[in-house]
């Protein structure tokens, strides 16, 4: 009985706080994306003629994100029937955008006019037990000015 109550409390806390944090994060991401729109990111750059620039430097942005308790449970339920796991889609989406923004912001601080040859790298760094499901997302590219 106690276990069920704890489970339900965790579920509720995860649902309300998790959703609120996600909404806030998305608002933050959208605001920052808008304010950094004037610096383009390109995924090309290798196997091509080098762009004209005075300076080039590598920039890295990374973030480790995890799902809340409610979403972890709903994803494991989804596992039973298969199909789209929307809760993980939003997690990876905001993680990737956050990593990209961090890279972009550090490049802009340096004075980059654009960032080229951007690559992504995603890895599961899941630990033991409940900490499973943490994902590291990194973005790296070359800023030129």
């Amino acid at each position: 009985m106690e276990q069920i109550i704890i489970f339900l409390i965790l579920l509720g806390v995860g649902y309300f706080l998790g959703n609120r944090r996600e909404q806030k994060h998305y608002e933050d991401i959208k605001r920052r994306e808008k304010s950094t729109l004037h610096v383009p990111l390109m995924s090309w750059g290798a196997k091509q003629e080098l762009p004209y620039a005075h300076d080039a430097e590598m920039f890295v942005g990374s973030v480790v994100v995890a799902n809340d308790y409610f979403k972890t449970v709903s994803a494991s339920l989804r596992n039973l029937v298969g199909g789209r796991v929307t809760v993980y889609e939003t997690l990876l989406d905001r993680g990737r955008r956050e990593a990209m923004l961090r890279m972009k912001e550090s490049a802009m601080e340096w004075g980059a006019s654009q960032v080229i040859n951007v690559r992504f790298e995603t890895s599961n760094i899941g630990g033991q037990g409940q900490a499973a499901g943490a994902v590291e997302i990194m973005a790296y590219g070359t800023g030129i000015r």
């Binding site: 995890a66 040859n117 890895s123």
Partner: protein
Amino acid sequence: MTRSIARATSVTLTTLEGVPGKEIIEHYGLVQGSTIRAKHVGKDILAGFKNIVGGELKAYTELLQESRQEAVNRMVMQAEELGANAVINIRFATSSVAPGAAELFAYGTAVKVR
């Protein structure tokens, strides 16, 4: 924090096949650096709490950034030993080798540019 990856050294690092505005005069071949890090128990417990509400796990982000810096430093050290002044076409790879431990790996081509 992320900027220091390139700032700590005079070696130019790029993910391109060269350094814009400069000419490659010598190739020294592949250089690489890697590090394996395990998580701190305290951080793991905190992350467990964080897992209830979701979102970013800042302690892990910092840990992995530090480790990646270490891997890049090792790669740069190798390049400096060879006499290179730039490392081009850098790529990263991350893999979890055991529960709670991750390997961070960076590799690139050491060159001399002018």
